[in-house]
Amino acid sequence: MTDKKRNVFKVLTNGFMKENPVLKLVLGTCPSLAVTTMAKNGIGMGIAATFVLLGSNIVISLIRKIVPDKVRIPVFITVIAGFTTIVEMLLHAYLPDIYKELGIYIPLIVVNCIILARAEMFACKNTVGMSILDALGMGGGFTIALLIMGSIREILGAGTWFGITLTKNLFDPAVIMVLPAGGFLVYGFVVAAVQKFSTLNIRNKEIAAGCGMSCAGCVANDNGGDKA
Protein backbone atom coordinates (compact mmCIF):
# COMPACT_ATOMS: atom_id res chain seq x y z
CA MET A 1 0.00 0.00 0.00
CA THR A 2 2.76 2.39 0.94
CA ASP A 3 4.43 1.48 -2.27
CA LYS A 4 1.38 2.52 -4.21
CA LYS A 5 1.11 5.76 -2.30
CA ARG A 6 4.70 6.58 -3.02
CA ASN A 7 4.09 5.88 -6.67
CA VAL A 8 1.15 8.30 -6.73
CA PHE A 9 3.24 10.97 -5.08
CA LYS A 10 6.06 10.38 -7.54
CA VAL A 11 3.81 10.74 -10.57
CA LEU A 12 2.37 13.96 -9.21
CA THR A 13 5.68 15.60 -8.32
CA ASN A 14 7.63 14.31 -11.29
CA GLY A 15 6.57 17.18 -13.50
CA PHE A 16 7.56 19.87 -11.04
CA MET A 17 11.24 19.15 -10.64
CA LYS A 18 12.70 15.94 -11.97
CA GLU A 19 11.03 16.08 -15.33
CA ASN A 20 9.92 19.68 -15.52
CA PRO A 21 8.73 19.89 -19.13
CA VAL A 22 10.20 23.31 -19.84
CA LEU A 23 13.36 23.37 -17.77
CA LYS A 24 14.40 19.73 -17.94
CA LEU A 25 12.78 18.03 -20.91
CA VAL A 26 12.86 21.15 -23.11
CA LEU A 27 9.35 20.63 -24.41
CA GLY A 28 6.92 23.37 -25.30
CA THR A 29 9.61 25.95 -25.84
CA CYS A 30 7.60 28.07 -28.25
CA PRO A 31 4.89 29.25 -25.83
CA SER A 32 7.42 29.45 -22.99
CA LEU A 33 9.35 32.06 -24.92
CA ALA A 34 6.49 33.82 -26.64
CA VAL A 35 4.01 34.57 -23.89
CA THR A 36 6.30 35.19 -20.92
CA THR A 37 6.64 38.93 -21.39
CA MET A 38 4.39 39.30 -18.34
CA ALA A 39 3.84 37.07 -15.32
CA LYS A 40 0.10 37.22 -15.87
CA ASN A 41 0.33 35.90 -19.42
CA GLY A 42 2.65 33.13 -18.30
CA ILE A 43 0.10 31.94 -15.75
CA GLY A 44 -2.73 32.24 -18.27
CA MET A 45 -0.89 30.12 -20.81
CA GLY A 46 0.13 27.64 -18.13
CA ILE A 47 -3.42 27.12 -16.94
CA ALA A 48 -4.82 26.90 -20.47
CA ALA A 49 -2.26 24.25 -21.40
CA THR A 50 -2.85 22.37 -18.14
CA PHE A 51 -6.56 22.22 -18.90
CA VAL A 52 -5.93 20.83 -22.38
CA LEU A 53 -3.41 18.36 -20.98
CA LEU A 54 -5.85 17.21 -18.30
CA GLY A 55 -8.68 16.74 -20.79
CA SER A 56 -6.57 14.96 -23.37
CA ASN A 57 -4.90 12.71 -20.79
CA ILE A 58 -8.29 11.65 -19.39
CA VAL A 59 -9.84 10.94 -22.79
CA ILE A 60 -6.78 9.21 -24.18
CA SER A 61 -6.36 6.94 -21.18
CA LEU A 62 -10.06 6.06 -21.48
CA ILE A 63 -9.88 5.16 -25.15
CA ARG A 64 -6.39 3.67 -25.10
CA LYS A 65 -7.64 0.12 -25.52
CA ILE A 66 -10.03 0.89 -28.36
CA VAL A 67 -7.73 2.90 -30.61
CA PRO A 68 -5.67 0.81 -33.04
CA ASP A 69 -1.97 1.40 -32.73
CA LYS A 70 -1.50 2.57 -36.31
CA VAL A 71 -3.87 5.52 -36.17
CA ARG A 72 -3.17 6.57 -32.60
CA ILE A 73 -1.25 9.76 -33.41
CA PRO A 74 -4.01 11.29 -35.60
CA VAL A 75 -6.57 10.29 -32.96
CA PHE A 76 -4.52 11.90 -30.20
CA ILE A 77 -4.07 15.07 -32.21
CA THR A 78 -7.81 15.30 -32.88
CA VAL A 79 -8.59 14.88 -29.17
CA ILE A 80 -6.04 17.53 -28.27
CA ALA A 81 -7.37 19.90 -30.94
CA GLY A 82 -10.88 19.43 -29.56
CA PHE A 83 -9.84 20.47 -26.07
CA THR A 84 -7.80 23.34 -27.44
CA THR A 85 -10.89 24.64 -29.21
CA ILE A 86 -12.84 24.41 -25.95
CA VAL A 87 -10.18 26.41 -24.11
CA GLU A 88 -10.07 28.97 -26.87
CA MET A 89 -13.83 29.51 -26.70
CA LEU A 90 -13.87 29.67 -22.90
CA LEU A 91 -11.08 32.24 -22.83
CA HIS A 92 -12.75 34.26 -25.56
CA ALA A 93 -15.98 34.34 -23.58
CA TYR A 94 -14.78 34.83 -20.01
CA LEU A 95 -11.25 36.28 -20.15
CA PRO A 96 -11.12 38.43 -23.30
CA ASP A 97 -8.03 40.29 -22.05
CA ILE A 98 -5.94 37.15 -21.77
CA TYR A 99 -7.41 35.89 -25.04
CA LYS A 100 -6.20 39.00 -26.82
CA GLU A 101 -2.75 38.91 -25.22
CA LEU A 102 -2.12 35.25 -25.99
CA GLY A 103 -3.46 35.55 -29.54
CA ILE A 104 -2.46 32.79 -31.92
CA TYR A 105 -0.55 30.98 -29.18
CA ILE A 106 -3.83 29.58 -27.83
CA PRO A 107 -4.66 27.51 -30.94
CA LEU A 108 -0.97 26.62 -31.08
CA ILE A 109 -1.43 24.62 -27.85
CA VAL A 110 -2.37 21.82 -30.27
CA VAL A 111 1.23 21.51 -31.39
CA ASN A 112 2.66 21.99 -27.92
CA CYS A 113 4.96 18.99 -27.64
CA ILE A 114 4.25 18.52 -23.94
CA ILE A 115 0.70 17.42 -24.56
CA LEU A 116 1.38 14.94 -27.34
CA ALA A 117 4.44 13.64 -25.50
CA ARG A 118 2.42 12.94 -22.33
CA ALA A 119 -0.31 11.29 -24.38
CA GLU A 120 2.22 9.04 -26.05
CA MET A 121 4.47 8.36 -23.07
CA PHE A 122 1.98 8.24 -20.22
CA ALA A 123 -1.74 8.41 -20.90
CA CYS A 124 -1.81 5.62 -23.47
CA LYS A 125 -0.19 3.22 -21.00
CA ASN A 126 -1.75 4.15 -17.67
CA THR A 127 -5.09 4.28 -15.90
CA VAL A 128 -7.33 7.35 -15.81
CA GLY A 129 -6.44 8.21 -12.21
CA MET A 130 -2.72 8.12 -12.84
CA SER A 131 -3.13 10.11 -16.05
CA ILE A 132 -4.99 12.83 -14.17
CA LEU A 133 -2.17 13.07 -11.63
CA ASP A 134 0.41 13.13 -14.41
CA ALA A 135 -1.46 15.92 -16.19
CA LEU A 136 -1.69 17.97 -13.00
CA GLY A 137 1.98 17.46 -12.23
CA MET A 138 3.22 18.23 -15.72
CA GLY A 139 0.82 21.13 -16.17
CA GLY A 140 1.83 22.52 -12.78
CA GLY A 141 5.50 22.26 -13.67
CA PHE A 142 4.85 24.01 -16.97
CA THR A 143 2.88 26.78 -15.26
CA ILE A 144 5.56 27.33 -12.62
CA ALA A 145 8.31 27.48 -15.23
CA LEU A 146 6.31 30.06 -17.21
CA LEU A 147 5.60 32.03 -14.04
CA ILE A 148 9.31 32.15 -13.17
CA MET A 149 10.28 33.30 -16.64
CA GLY A 150 7.39 35.74 -16.88
CA SER A 151 8.24 37.26 -13.49
CA ILE A 152 11.92 37.74 -14.32
CA ARG A 153 11.12 39.30 -17.67
CA GLU A 154 8.39 41.55 -16.35
CA ILE A 155 10.41 42.80 -13.38
CA LEU A 156 13.56 43.45 -15.39
CA GLY A 157 11.86 44.59 -18.56
CA ALA A 158 8.97 46.69 -17.32
CA GLY A 159 9.70 47.15 -13.62
CA THR A 160 6.35 45.66 -12.67
CA TRP A 161 5.04 42.34 -11.36
CA PHE A 162 1.45 41.35 -12.16
CA GLY A 163 1.03 44.98 -13.15
CA ILE A 164 2.23 46.38 -9.79
CA THR A 165 5.15 48.78 -10.07
CA LEU A 166 8.09 47.47 -8.07
CA THR A 167 11.28 49.12 -9.13
CA LYS A 168 10.33 52.76 -9.38
CA ASN A 169 13.44 54.19 -7.76
CA LEU A 170 15.77 51.22 -8.04
CA PHE A 171 16.67 51.01 -11.72
CA ASP A 172 15.35 51.82 -15.13
CA PRO A 173 13.67 48.84 -16.78
CA ALA A 174 15.63 47.26 -19.63
CA VAL A 175 13.23 47.03 -22.55
CA ILE A 176 15.32 44.30 -24.16
CA MET A 177 13.94 41.84 -21.62
CA VAL A 178 10.42 42.04 -23.01
CA LEU A 179 11.70 41.86 -26.58
CA PRO A 180 12.20 38.41 -28.15
CA ALA A 181 15.93 38.51 -27.40
CA GLY A 182 15.20 38.79 -23.67
CA GLY A 183 13.09 35.64 -23.88
CA PHE A 184 15.99 33.58 -25.18
CA LEU A 185 18.36 35.18 -22.69
CA VAL A 186 16.20 34.57 -19.60
CA TYR A 187 15.39 31.03 -20.71
CA GLY A 188 19.09 30.35 -21.17
CA PHE A 189 19.98 31.65 -17.72
CA VAL A 190 17.13 29.84 -15.98
CA VAL A 191 18.10 26.52 -17.59
CA ALA A 192 21.74 27.19 -16.65
CA ALA A 193 20.69 27.76 -13.03
CA VAL A 194 18.70 24.53 -13.03
CA GLN A 195 21.66 22.64 -14.47
CA LYS A 196 23.93 24.15 -11.84
CA PHE A 197 21.75 22.93 -9.00
CA SER A 198 20.84 19.56 -10.38
CA THR A 199 22.71 16.35 -10.82
CA LEU A 200 21.10 15.41 -14.10
CA ASN A 201 23.45 17.30 -16.35
CA ILE A 202 24.25 14.58 -18.77
CA ARG A 203 20.72 13.52 -19.32
CA ASN A 204 19.64 17.06 -19.90
CA LYS A 205 22.07 17.48 -22.73
CA GLU A 206 21.03 14.23 -24.29
CA ILE A 207 17.41 15.26 -24.30
CA ALA A 208 18.13 18.71 -25.62
CA ALA A 209 19.74 17.15 -28.64
CA GLY A 210 17.09 14.47 -29.15
CA CYS A 211 14.08 16.60 -28.54
CA GLY A 212 14.71 19.17 -31.19
CA MET A 213 13.99 16.43 -33.61
CA SER A 214 10.44 17.19 -32.49
CA CYS A 215 8.13 15.37 -30.19
CA ALA A 216 8.48 12.17 -32.08
CA GLY A 217 12.14 12.23 -31.16
CA CYS A 218 11.24 12.80 -27.54
CA VAL A 219 8.83 9.99 -27.50
CA ALA A 220 11.40 7.70 -29.04
CA ASN A 221 13.82 8.82 -26.35
CA ASP A 222 11.32 7.57 -23.83
CA ASN A 223 12.68 9.20 -20.76
CA GLY A 224 11.17 7.40 -17.89
CA GLY A 225 7.58 8.58 -18.10
CA ASP A 226 6.36 5.01 -18.06
CA LYS A 227 8.83 3.83 -15.51
CA ALA A 228 7.59 6.29 -12.93
Binding site: L33, C113, L179, P180, F184, G188, A208, A216
Partner: protein
Protein backbone atom coordinates in the same frame (compact mmCIF):
# COMPACT_ATOMS: atom_id res chain seq x y z
CA UNK B 1 3.41 43.99 -56.71
CA UNK B 2 4.65 46.48 -54.17
CA UNK B 3 2.37 44.94 -51.58
CA UNK B 4 3.76 41.47 -52.24
CA UNK B 5 7.35 42.63 -51.87
CA UNK B 6 6.43 44.36 -48.65
CA UNK B 7 4.79 41.21 -47.29
CA UNK B 8 7.79 39.12 -48.29
CA UNK B 9 10.46 41.35 -46.80
CA UNK B 10 8.60 41.93 -43.58
CA UNK B 11 7.93 38.20 -43.19
CA UNK B 12 11.58 37.32 -43.74
CA UNK B 13 13.27 39.99 -41.67
CA UNK B 14 10.97 42.11 -39.54
CA UNK B 15 8.67 39.40 -38.24
CA UNK B 16 11.07 36.53 -38.53
CA UNK B 17 9.22 33.40 -37.39
CA UNK B 18 11.94 32.08 -35.14
CA UNK B 19 13.55 35.20 -33.82
CA UNK B 20 10.60 37.47 -33.27
CA UNK B 21 7.51 35.26 -33.22
CA UNK B 22 8.96 32.19 -31.51
CA UNK B 23 7.44 29.73 -33.94
CA UNK B 24 9.37 26.57 -34.71
CA UNK B 25 11.81 26.83 -31.84
CA UNK B 26 12.09 23.04 -31.47
CA UNK B 27 13.66 22.40 -34.88
CA UNK B 28 15.56 25.68 -34.59
CA UNK B 29 17.35 24.40 -31.49
CA UNK B 30 17.45 20.75 -32.43
CA UNK B 31 18.48 20.61 -36.06
CA UNK B 32 20.77 23.63 -36.25
CA UNK B 33 23.94 21.87 -35.17
CA UNK B 34 25.27 21.60 -38.69
CA UNK B 35 24.66 23.89 -41.64
CA UNK B 36 23.81 20.96 -43.92
CA UNK B 37 21.03 19.61 -41.70
CA UNK B 38 19.75 23.13 -41.14
CA UNK B 39 19.43 23.53 -44.90
CA UNK B 40 17.66 20.16 -45.24
CA UNK B 41 15.11 21.04 -42.61
CA UNK B 42 14.71 24.52 -44.07
CA UNK B 43 14.02 23.07 -47.51
CA UNK B 44 11.36 20.76 -46.15
CA UNK B 45 9.73 23.59 -44.22
CA UNK B 46 9.66 25.94 -47.23
CA UNK B 47 8.02 23.23 -49.29
CA UNK B 48 5.35 22.32 -46.74
CA UNK B 49 4.49 25.83 -45.53
CA UNK B 50 4.06 27.17 -49.08
CA UNK B 51 1.71 24.31 -49.91
CA UNK B 52 -0.16 24.40 -46.61
CA UNK B 53 -0.72 28.15 -46.89
CA UNK B 54 -2.64 27.63 -50.10
CA UNK B 55 -4.52 24.55 -48.91
CA UNK B 56 -5.57 25.92 -45.53
CA UNK B 57 -6.58 29.20 -47.18
CA UNK B 58 -8.86 27.27 -49.53
CA UNK B 59 -10.20 25.06 -46.74
CA UNK B 60 -11.04 28.13 -44.69
CA UNK B 61 -12.68 30.01 -47.53
CA UNK B 62 -14.64 27.26 -49.23
CA UNK B 63 -15.41 24.96 -46.32
CA UNK B 64 -15.34 26.68 -42.98
CA UNK B 65 -16.58 30.14 -43.88
CA UNK B 66 -19.20 28.95 -46.33
CA UNK B 67 -20.82 26.62 -43.83
CA UNK B 68 -20.26 28.80 -40.76
CA UNK B 69 -17.82 26.39 -39.14
CA UNK B 70 -14.94 28.73 -38.37
CA UNK B 71 -14.91 27.57 -34.75
CA UNK B 72 -13.52 24.26 -36.02
CA UNK B 73 -10.52 26.07 -37.53
CA UNK B 74 -7.88 24.61 -35.21
CA UNK B 75 -9.02 21.00 -35.67
CA UNK B 76 -9.43 21.27 -39.42
CA UNK B 77 -6.08 23.02 -39.94
CA UNK B 78 -4.06 20.54 -37.95
CA UNK B 79 -5.69 17.62 -39.74
CA UNK B 80 -5.19 19.25 -43.13
CA UNK B 81 -1.53 19.84 -42.32
CA UNK B 82 -1.02 16.28 -41.06
CA UNK B 83 -2.67 14.86 -44.17
CA UNK B 84 -0.71 17.20 -46.41
CA UNK B 85 2.61 16.18 -44.90
CA UNK B 86 1.72 12.53 -45.37
CA UNK B 87 0.66 13.22 -48.95
CA UNK B 88 3.80 15.17 -49.79
CA UNK B 89 5.88 12.38 -48.36
CA UNK B 90 4.16 9.71 -50.45
CA UNK B 91 4.28 11.74 -53.66
CA UNK B 92 7.92 12.73 -53.24
CA UNK B 93 8.91 9.14 -52.57
CA UNK B 94 7.35 8.09 -55.87
CA UNK B 95 8.11 11.07 -58.12
CA UNK B 96 11.31 12.65 -56.84
CA UNK B 97 13.19 10.02 -54.84
CA UNK B 98 16.35 12.15 -54.73
CA UNK B 99 14.57 15.07 -53.09
CA UNK B 100 12.78 12.63 -50.82
CA UNK B 101 16.00 11.13 -49.54
CA UNK B 102 17.45 14.62 -49.05
CA UNK B 103 14.47 15.81 -46.96
CA UNK B 104 13.98 12.31 -45.57
CA UNK B 105 13.52 12.30 -41.84
CA UNK B 106 12.60 15.97 -41.63
CA UNK B 107 9.27 15.62 -43.38
CA UNK B 108 7.23 13.70 -40.78
CA UNK B 109 8.51 15.98 -38.03
CA UNK B 110 6.95 18.99 -39.69
CA UNK B 111 3.40 18.16 -38.60
CA UNK B 112 4.28 19.15 -35.06
CA UNK B 113 6.30 22.19 -36.13
CA UNK B 114 4.30 25.11 -34.85
CA UNK B 115 5.56 27.33 -37.67
CA UNK B 116 3.26 25.53 -40.12
CA UNK B 117 0.10 25.88 -38.06
CA UNK B 118 1.20 29.33 -36.96
CA UNK B 119 1.52 30.62 -40.50
CA UNK B 120 -1.89 29.17 -41.42
CA UNK B 121 -3.47 30.93 -38.45
CA UNK B 122 -1.71 34.23 -39.11
CA UNK B 123 -2.90 34.18 -42.71
CA UNK B 124 -6.54 33.85 -41.60
CA UNK B 125 -6.10 36.48 -38.92
CA UNK B 126 -4.81 38.99 -41.47
CA UNK B 127 -7.34 38.01 -44.12
CA UNK B 128 -4.83 37.75 -46.94
CA UNK B 129 -5.88 36.92 -50.49
CA UNK B 130 -4.69 33.61 -51.92
CA UNK B 131 -1.67 35.16 -53.64
CA UNK B 132 -0.69 37.15 -50.55
CA UNK B 133 -1.11 34.04 -48.42
CA UNK B 134 1.20 31.96 -50.58
CA UNK B 135 3.81 34.71 -50.72
CA UNK B 136 3.58 35.19 -46.97
CA UNK B 137 3.93 31.45 -46.33
CA UNK B 138 6.88 31.11 -48.66
CA UNK B 139 8.66 34.17 -47.28
CA UNK B 140 8.10 33.16 -43.66
CA UNK B 141 9.59 29.76 -44.36
CA UNK B 142 12.55 31.39 -46.09
CA UNK B 143 12.99 33.55 -43.00
CA UNK B 144 12.91 30.44 -40.85
CA UNK B 145 15.57 28.80 -43.02
CA UNK B 146 17.69 31.94 -42.98
CA UNK B 147 17.60 32.10 -39.19
CA UNK B 148 18.46 28.40 -38.90
CA UNK B 149 21.37 28.59 -41.32
CA UNK B 150 22.79 31.74 -39.72
CA UNK B 151 22.43 30.17 -36.32
CA UNK B 152 24.05 26.90 -37.34
CA UNK B 153 27.14 28.93 -38.23
CA UNK B 154 27.17 30.39 -34.73
CA UNK B 155 26.71 26.97 -33.20
CA UNK B 156 29.58 25.42 -35.08
CA UNK B 157 31.75 28.04 -33.40
CA UNK B 158 30.29 27.31 -29.96
CA UNK B 159 31.17 23.63 -30.32
CA UNK B 160 34.85 24.42 -30.21
CA UNK B 161 34.89 27.00 -27.44
CA UNK B 162 35.25 26.55 -23.69
CA UNK B 163 32.01 27.03 -21.82
CA UNK B 164 31.30 26.92 -18.05
CA UNK B 165 29.77 23.57 -17.09
CA UNK B 166 26.40 24.98 -16.07
CA UNK B 167 26.03 26.66 -19.44
CA UNK B 168 26.96 23.67 -21.58
CA UNK B 169 24.34 22.29 -23.90
CA UNK B 170 21.06 24.12 -24.07
CA UNK B 171 21.74 27.33 -22.06
CA UNK B 172 24.61 28.58 -24.20
CA UNK B 173 22.59 27.78 -27.32
CA UNK B 174 19.72 29.89 -26.04
CA UNK B 175 21.99 32.77 -25.16
CA UNK B 176 23.56 32.63 -28.61
CA UNK B 177 20.04 32.70 -30.03
CA UNK B 178 19.37 35.80 -27.96
CA UNK B 179 22.34 37.53 -29.56
CA UNK B 180 21.24 36.55 -33.07
CA UNK B 181 17.78 37.82 -32.18
CA UNK B 182 19.22 41.18 -31.12
CA UNK B 183 20.70 41.48 -34.60
CA UNK B 184 17.25 41.00 -36.10
CA UNK B 185 15.76 43.73 -33.89
CA UNK B 186 17.67 46.06 -36.17
CA UNK B 187 15.24 45.32 -38.99
CA UNK B 188 12.28 46.49 -36.94
CA UNK B 189 12.62 50.06 -38.12
CA UNK B 190 12.14 48.98 -41.75
CA UNK B 191 9.06 50.54 -43.38
CA UNK B 192 7.98 51.85 -40.00
CA UNK B 193 6.06 48.67 -39.34
Amino acid sequence: MKELILIAISAIFVENFVLSKFLGICPFLGVSKKTSTALGMGGAVVFVITLSSAVTWAANKYLLERYGLTYLQTIVFILVIAALVQFVETVLKKVLPTLYSALGIYLPLITTNCAVLGSALLIQERQYTLLNAVVFGFASAVGFTLAMVLFSGVRERIETSEIPIAFQGLPITLIAAALVSVAFVGFQGLFGL
